[in-house]
Symmetry: C2
Subunit: 192 residues, 2 copies
């Protein structure tokens, strides 16, 4: 019986972040980094075209980075948001990030049904999204079924949501991925 | 920057499973094991009152076990279903369990919003639930917002769902947990 599971960021991430000199003082600048990471994850062939960050909003400081590692880690839960939230919790040594200050999840794409559901349990205070569900679906990804009022659902739990930040640039990464002929996992799962 | 995350079942699980002699040939017998594991997870103080299994439906064989490890692993995503699905993927060396045969997720409680969203990405063919959302909420847990037609949402993706299997026994574990005065994490997050 296997009793252990782990995932890890690829080696290129650390030098990539060392080279990133732009400050992370606005949602737009944070999204620039998330989108750049999503594009690099394709180029390096380490996973799907999605990336996320957790940022300390008070200190304007990067806490963690997440990439889609589904194919490289061999785990379907290893979406960028799940990886970023988990690595932030490892760094803060607390499963509830609310205890670590005002944490923000920045994702290059609107969360899928799973990642949406993970947000309230993580303790983040706000979420910033780039591309939308329609952009991901246009590239062939099944995003699952969230409640129609998913933004309101998070707001009811005190989580501020900002959508469509740098949307066009974030969506371009998804359509470039599709155009490259790369594998779209979970394509067309849903049948009406 | 932390770049690695892992979780692991507690040591008591392996001998507990060695002692479990009942076959796993029906949904009800599988749920007996899931409920027994959820109760033992409380007794051993290794996490919340939730457990799950992945079972190979063709071979009637246990593939993996999951427990709620949120507090012990320090990860908010470490719900029983997420742990069971991930450990099954580790065992099968494939992020898509559909490639490994007819896999069933058995959970002592109806999945929360996150675990619901994780099901289609995992490749399982069916889901069996014990306690319901109302039972978990009666014990003080916030289960998040799933689409109202969450069963239909999974069915549209070809996943068979069976609810309320041994519901009373599964719900009893949750109410015993509440009665013990144990910590209910994420209690009362939602505000209307």
């Amino acid at each position: 019986m296997n009793d252990r599971c782990s995932f890890q960021l690829p080696e290129w991430v650390s030098p990539f972040l060392d080279d990133w000199v732009e400050p992370l003082d606005t949602a737009r600048k944070r999204m620039e980094l998330a989108v750049a990471l999503s594009a690099e994850n394709i180029r390096q062939q380490t996973g799907g075209p999605f990336a996320a960050l957790v940022v300390d909003e008070d200190k304007k400081e990067l806490v963690s980075v997440g990439l889609n590692l589904v194919t490289s880690a061999g785990l379907s839960i290893a979406h960028a948001e799940m990886v970023a939230l988990s690595l932030a919790q490892v760094r803060k040594d607390d499963w509830n990030l609310a205890n670590a200050g005002s944490m923000q999840l920045v994702s290059s794409c609107e969360p899928c049904a799973m990642c949406f559901g993970a947000v309230p349990w993580s303790g983040v205070k706000s979420v910033v999204c780039g591309a939308g569900k329609a952009d991901a679906e246009a590239a062939g990804f099944d995003e699952g079924d969230k409640p129609n009022d998913w933004v309101r659902s998070l707001q009811r739990r005190g989580i501020v949501v900002q959508t469509a930040v740098l949307q066009q640039k974030a969506a371009q990464v998804l359509s470039d991925y599709k155009a490259s002929g790369a594998t779209i996992y979970n394509a067309g799962l849903a049948k009406n």
